[in-house]
């Protein structure tokens, strides 16, 4: 058509568009929970028990919290209080690697790249951090801990950079290459855990990292809440600053939104693709670092429950915006963490959480469904380009 029907000059002030941005994801989550409830009922369980357990498992029981506070104020005894906040801190602990990994995938999306390799980068990052964490001895924490984190970031960055380079230089599709790099990472870690990095004893796990490389915990066992969470928030802000306030971030977003225009404007596609994949890999690597240095302190074969893959869903839910990613990571963290309690108290398999997560993603990916269900009039917004087609 030679002309559009109307000059669509929709006056969108920044505030109302933010409301619109949040509305669909929020409704998607609600709808996911509602359909999840139907599934729970269909499986013969009580929805209120299930979601009640999910809630107390992720936020903690208010009753317990009040009791804990009473005990604390009357006797100064903290153990009850710590027990009460345990679920909440566990949720934040679970959210921490999600934030890092989600940022990784979101950054890729911003540059038009589909980083399916976050899981592999996560493993490599964890192994590198663990290695520096247990093998480098005699350093004070102020040096050892940053060094261990840096090692993880660097390991992940190299793992991400390889597919980035293959894409930029030879046009090899990053989806294929990051998946391949995942397999290499999984097999490499199998080998490392059984060979060079194996701790003494027969278990195929790395030695524990030294206390100087551990992310400090704020409470005594069993509370695992640690500095990693705040590190993740800081990194999220850094990614936001990078994307929206720096020239390089501008290039990255340009390359993602319109590579032809980016080239026209004199930006180097090759440089930016490699850079973004390296940074994305570094972020996923830091997810592994935070997990090993803050939570597990050692790496074994079951190190990740698919953080790198969940991160894809999470980046979609967060609309590839760093702050959106933090919010979705918290949501996923709370869902995942609360699921344990739900499984135990209400006998609902953890899989229901995967179903809810899946539903939420479907609704995010197809916002038309949500608009139709809730009769929201569609406002025309450009959808963020997530990834370029094959062979381009």
């Amino acid at each position: 058509m030679s002309e559009t029907a109307t000059p669509s000059k929709t006056q969108t002030s920044k505030r109302s568009s933010l409301g619109q941005e949040l509305l669909v994801p929020a409704l998607a989550v609600v709808t996911g929970l509602i359909i999840g409830a139907i599934v729970i009922v269909a499986s013969g369980a009580n929805v209120f028990d299930a979601y009640g357990a999910l809630f107390t498992g992720s936020f903690g029981s208010p009753v317990r919290l009040i009791e804990g506070l009473q005990v604390f104020f009357s006797t100064g005894e903290t153990s009850e209080l710590l027990r009460a906040i345990y679920p909440f801190t566990e949720s934040l602990v679970t959210a921490t690697p999600y934030i890092f990994a989600g940022l990784s995938v979101a950054l890729g999306f911003r540059a038009g790249l589909f980083n399916i390799g976050a899981e592999g980068q996560f493993f490599i990052g964890a192994l590198c951090s663990a290695f520096v964490g247990y093998s480098v001895k005699g350093l004070p924490m102020i040096i050892h801990l940053p060094l261990a984190i840096l090692a993880g970031a660097l390991g992940g960055a190299i793992w991400g950079m390889i597919p980035g380079y293959l894409k930029a230089k030879f046009g090899a599709h990053e989806v294929v290459n990051t998946i391949m790099m995942n397999w290499i990472a999984f097999r490499l870690s199998d080998w490392l855990l059984n060979g060079p990095m194996k701790a003494s004893g027969f278990r195929p796990v790395t030695p524990n990292v030294l206390p100087t490389a551990e992310l400090p915990r704020f409470f005594d066992d069993p509370l695992r809440f640690n500095l990693g969470f705040f590190l993740a928030l800081a990194v999220a802000y850094l990614v936001y600053w990078f994307l929206f306030k720096t020239t390089t971030g501008f290039e990255v977003r340009s390359v993602g939104a319109n590579p032809d225009a980016a080239k026209y404007a004199g930006m180097s596609i090759v440089k930016n693709l490699v850079l973004v994949m390296a940074l994305a890999g570094g972020l996923a690597g830091m997810a592994g670092s935070a997990q090993v240095l803050g939570v597990d302190h050692w790496v074994g074969q079951g190190f990740s429950a698919g953080y790198g893959f969940d991160a894809i869903a999470l980046a979609l839910l967060g609309k590839s915006h760093p702050f959106g990613v933090v919010l979705s990571a918290l949501l996923f963290g709370f869902l995942r963490s609360g699921a344990t309690n739900m499984q135990s108290r209400a006998g609902i398999p953890i899989d229901i959480i995967s179903i809810i997560q899946g539903l939420v993603i479907v609704f995010i990916a197809a916002p038309a469904i949500i608009r139709w269900i809730y009769r929201i009039r569609s406002i025309k917004t450009e959808e963020t380009v997530l990834t370029r087609g094959w062979g381009k």
């Binding site: 009640g52 999910l54 059984n194 108290r345």
Partner: protein, 364 residues
């Protein structure tokens, strides 16, 4: 915008309602004995350790009226969390499955001396050497001392593996049998060692020269996939063993073995010896290629542990499942002649009374 506020308000209200309900239902009766099982990464439906352990718990539910539930671990950081969840619910006996939970179980057991634990395939003490240099308790290993509230459930699978090796040697057409493992650790290689010994014993008894591929006890090395989950690896390992001339394979790598079974079924070129459970029951779709199974009767061990809690006789230490006490055994051998059955029964009896030992056959 209005809609957004509405949604948020609805969420808050809903969560308050849910909390109220959740809080109300969270206290259970204390008079019933509660059993909680924490699985390893295989999950409750692994048709192996976890499933077998929970089968024991369910039998106990039926027999003693205890309450039993399980929590599935999806990653290593769940071990601690799941154990903690059961501690929090005042569970009487926490059953943890697999050596990977060894450290977390010991740490939790020390922190909660009133709670009983049973750990499958592990036992304490597990720290050896000098504290500080060789190990750090609670980190590199669980405990340097025996724990009074933990029962380690271990199994003399070499004895059952021995019978499997004997049956395999008697059944092979090509004169070669094979085994491979997930990773080179004692709970895995003990099967392979028994298997090798059984073949050797058969050769000695019958003047045969059946060869074992994939494991050599003297060298303490063999074939390993490096993981416990890749069905593709199971397939490719089976393929290469068949190419080397083997026609009976014992995969000691959990679900990996199902890949081998699928290969055998498609090509008709080999038979499989199942491990841990009777595979004709747990994976009936492969019955036609299953020669027999080395059974580790974890269900019986778990059932006995719960029984001990019920009758107040629970004590820490080590339970060893053997041929003699029924903790391990060999499933029925497909197509076995009466002669073979008699030979296997004789070997079984000899192992049970100690007149025949695996190490003895291997000359160790």
């Amino acid at each position: 915008m209005k809609k957004l506020y509405f949604v948020m308000a609805a969420l808050i209200v809903a969560s308050l309602v849910l909390t109220a309900c959740g809080a109300g239902s969270s206290t259970g009766g204390d008079d019933v004995i509660k059993v909680g099982q924490v699985t390893d990464l295989g999950g409750i439906d692994d048709k192996s350790f976890n499933a077998s352990a929970f089968a024991g718990a369910e039998k106990a539910v039926a027999d003693f009226g205890v309450e039993a539930k399980y929590l599935e671990s999806t990653q290593q950081s769940d071990y601690n969390k799941n154990i903690q969840q059961f501690v929090d619910e005042d569970t009487d006996l926490i059953v943890t499955v697999g050596f990977l939970l060894g450290v977390d179980t010991a740490v939790a057991a020390k922190a909660n001396p009133e709670t009983y634990f049973a750990i499958v395939d592990y036992s304490y003490p597990d720290c050896f050497g000098t504290a500080g240099t060789d190990y750090t308790e609670g980190q590199t290993c669980g405990s340097a001392t025996e724990l009074p509230n933990v029962l380690g459930l271990t199994f003399a699978t070499d004895q059952a593996g021995f019978l499997a090796g004997y049956a395999a040697a008697a059944s092979t057409q090509t004169g070669k049998v094979a085994t491979f493992g997930g990773i080179n650790i004692p709970p895995v290689t003990i099967f392979m060692k028994g298997f090798e010994a059984g073949v050797k014993y058969y050769n000695e008894q019958n003047g045969a020269e059946v060869e074992v591929l994939g494991w050599n006890t003297a060298a303490a090395d063999g074939s390993f996939t490096g993981n416990f989950d890749s069905l593709d690896d199971g397939r490719s390992f089976a393929e290469s063993f068949v190419q080397e001339g083997a026609d009976i394979i014992m995969p000691v790598a959990g679900p990996v073995g199902l890949g081998s079974a699928a290969y055998c079924q498609e090509t008709g070129s080999c038979q499989i010896i199942g491990v841990d459970t009777d595979w004709t029951v747990s994976s009936p779709e492969y019955t036609d290629v299953i020669l027999t199974s080395v059974m580790k009767n974890i269900n019986i061990a778990v059932y006995d542990s719960i029984k001990a809690v019920v009758d107040g006789s629970f004590a820490g230490g080590v339970y060893l499942g053997t041929i003699a006490n029924g903790g391990v055994g060999l499933a029925e051998v497909a197509g076995a002649s009466d002669d073979l059955k008699a030979q296997l029964e004789a070997a079984r009896a000899a192992l049970a009374d100690g007149s025949l030992t695996v190490d003895g056959v291997l000359g160790q």
